[in-house]
Assembly symmetry: C2
Homo-oligomer: 461 residues x 2
């Protein structure tokens, strides 16, 4: 696989990474305070790439660049900028540029832009909007964070359920205002309950007299405005949705979510999963300051310090044994480390399976048994290897037996802990990804040291 990727890297030219030469040229233009050249260089870039540029250059360069080029910033760039530097960029913009930039955005993008800002910055942006847009944004902000209500756009194209293709096309032609991107027409009953949707492709390829109701899609699914955004992303991926109507508690249509927003959520969820798994606060970004980064990473290190001390206390109970056979001190970390690795493997599979809803109450029992079997087989295999190593390196058959037995015990514990800890968190409605490796490695450290030193005390002393 690694070789394959290398080969693929050779044959492809585009990898979408910001060109390092271009970044250098831009920084030179900033250095020279040459704003005409800066505009020439940045103008061909996509908004998302401009945002990446702002994130990747240093703080001093960024401030200088914004002074020279800030009037060119538009709403699309603002929505792409990472939260870590968003406030800084907004503060650096002249009020009129900011107002202009946000007025061109759809309601969901404005919500996304301002939901994490401080009160005064929120006010500045809301104040720039027209009354109707402002009301729409404020309404969206009343929905809980990370809910479908925050994610949806309120601009929706609907048609009465009794219309024909011809009526729908005439309506679209006549309509002054339409969203930038839309892929379906949502059919609604007189009380604004969505009853189905029609893709624009079907609409275009059907005769004018065909009733819309006859060409609706099977994939139709509504989403509750209070649904958690992670579940919304899951539904889009699972059911291949392109857009989905959002409904309130009375099943009335209040907005629509499109797949590009769902994809962004899926990406953010994965970032959160991998960072949590490694014990990093989820809001981490390369643009964070050193102190910000320290603040994100310290809590789990503190937890780990506590648990490492528990393992130390376990070991110190056996100091007499270690004094008698000092080789035990060198061998005990092997048992602990193997347990930690096996537990992390099992944990990663379980956390991922819970996220994709493929580990459920229907198959949990079978999965736990499978993990126990895997742990036992791996345990036996590595017990034999390490038993042999123990015997050959230290000339003591019984030392080999102790090492092998401790290995077997710890690998079974590791495999079980890796799957049971996240299952338990899920049962208590907590995020299973919170079971960062720290928990499992603590367990395998403690059990590993205890089993090895305990057995050594019983058998060797």
């Amino acid at each position: 696989m690694a070789d394959e990727r290398a080969a693929q890297d050779d044959r492809e030219e585009v990898d979408y990474e910001l060109d390092a030469d271009l970044v250098d040229q831009i920084l030179e233009a900033v250095e020279a305070a040459d704003s005409a050249r800066l505009i020439d260089l940045i103008e061909p870039l996509h908004a998302a790439d401009v945002a990446d540029l702002l994130e990747q250059i240093g703080g001093a360069d960024r401030r200088a660049l914004l002074r020279l080029w800030g009037r060119e910033i538009d709403g699309d760039i603002l929505t792409e900028i990472d939260e870590a530097i968003r406030e800084e960029v907004i503060d650096a913009l002249p009020r009129d540029v900011l107002a202009e930039a946000v007025r061109e955005l759809d309601s969901d993008d404005v919500v996304d832009l301002i939901e994490d800002l401080e009160e005064p910055q929120q006010e500045a942006i809301l104040g720039a909007l027209e009354d109707a847009d402002r009301a729409a944004v404020e309404q969206s902000l009343t929905y809980p964070e990370y809910s479908a209500g925050r994610l949806m756009q309120r601009e929706v194209v609907t048609a009465p359920e009794h219309w024909t293709v011809g009526e729908a096309i005439d309506f679209l032609r006549a309509e002054e205002w339409l969203p930038d991107q839309f892929y379906h027409i949502i059919l609604v009953d007189p009380r604004m309950h969505p009853v189905g949707y029609v893709t624009l492709g079907r609409l275009l390829s059907s005769g004018r007299v065909v009733p819309l109701r006859d060409i609706t899609e099977d994939s139709f699914r509504t989403i509750s405005v209070l649904q958690e955004e992670a579940d919304v992303a899951y539904a889009f991926n699972q059911y291949h949705l392109i857009s989905a109507p959002v409904v309130d508690e009375d099943d009335r249509l209040v907005g629509v979510i499109t797949i590009d927003d769902a994809m962004a959520v899926l990406d953010a969820e994965h970032e959160e999963d991998i960072l949590r798994f490694a014990g990093v606060g989820e809001d981490s970004s390369l643009s964070d300051t050193v102190l910000e980064t320290v603040r994100q990473r310290t809590p789990w290190l503190l937890v780990n310090l506590l648990t490492a001390n528990v393992a130390a206390v376990v070991i110190s109970q056996f100091s007499g044994t270690i004094e008698a056979i000092v080789a035990l001190a060198a061998l005990m970390p092997i048992v602990a480390s193997m347990g930690g690795n096996a537990g992390t493997q099992s944990l990663a599979v379980a956390v991922r399976a819970l996220a994709t809803k493929s580990l459920t109450s229907s198959n949990a029992g079978r999965v736990v048994r499978r993990e126990a079997m895997v742990g036992a087989i791996n345990g036996l295999f590595f017990a034999l290897i390490m038993g042999a190593v123990g015997y050959l390196a230290y000339g003591s058959a019984m030392l080999g037996v102790v090492l092998g037995m401790a290995m077997l015990i710890n690998l079974v514990v590791a495999a079980l802990a890796g799957v049971l800890v996240p299952l338990m968190l899920e049962r208590f409605n907590l995020d299973p990804a919170l079971a960062s490796g720290t928990f499992v490695t603590t367990m395998t450290d403690v059990i590993g040291f205890f089993a090895f030193l305990g057995l050594a005390t019983l058998i060797l002393i």
Copy 2:
């Protein structure tokens, strides 16, 4: 965050997990060999949920279910089924059902279905296709695995660049055949080079006389047929693409990729990242057998066994020191464990930043310096704590100093290793996610034990 999620879980009803009661009822119907009831129960489910059902039940139940219900399987269900059980399901189907099922699929779905099958199964499916479809699928299979060519569908809706809106609409009306889902019309020049695209929404809302060229989208981007699929997924997410034309080496249009396929790739890439990070073979699934799972997990455990033995050799060099001060044996795992955790944090951030192209050659130097600073600050903080613990618990100020110094050294090494190892792999065109935690924790184990026991030997003995 945990509390927030719990609250959200309460207020939402749908979480898209297969209903456990339904699964029980289905298994009862299988038990009773009641195929009419089975059809009633499964019929309302989405194809993706039927696939999940087949994956989640045990092997014996699955075979019994397929015997009773296999004739109902359609192509959509086949494409959703996890690779781990796909061969088994295909083998269980009567030939005529299989042929019927694949004939209704788009070319990209057939490719996806058969690319990992054995030769005879591939032949059985290809043989069921009509000649034109078979040729299209065989052509796609000539592109490298994990390339855009495998991902694209060959069914494309195009229009000559000089057409008007009216001409395009008349063409769509008259066309017998159109893909199930399409969102854009791709404009091509006479030599089939794509020159732009028009969304169906713009087409519908524009007057008949408007030239298509006047309403093309700014977001237009072509994708090379040899582009790696992970980069394709990145481009869709980064540039908010909904569909993108795929071109060959001569820039000629050969197919189109839609966002739902890109989203599935993004999801699979993330799965691979988190599993590799934890040292699991990437093709892992809950439907794998016990032996399959052992086979996936053993290689990294073997690597870890080797490296753990290196750490043991380091420790055994200091057996004289440990014999003299047995407390060192209890304290040394604390230093190693803190280093392992800090290194894993730094590694997760770096691997993720490389995947999102936010860690580049332009900012690598700054990021490495930042990590070193973070390591130093955390190192000082934990050095002070552990120094104090060492002094208070063991009454030796110098033991506290040794513990603190080793902690500081190891946390700086951990932070640097976490970012330098994946950067180096990337430089050599290897996948940075290969730098599973194992590498970094080995380094921090070895350095941690060496620094702590070495300093103890110098200062305390």
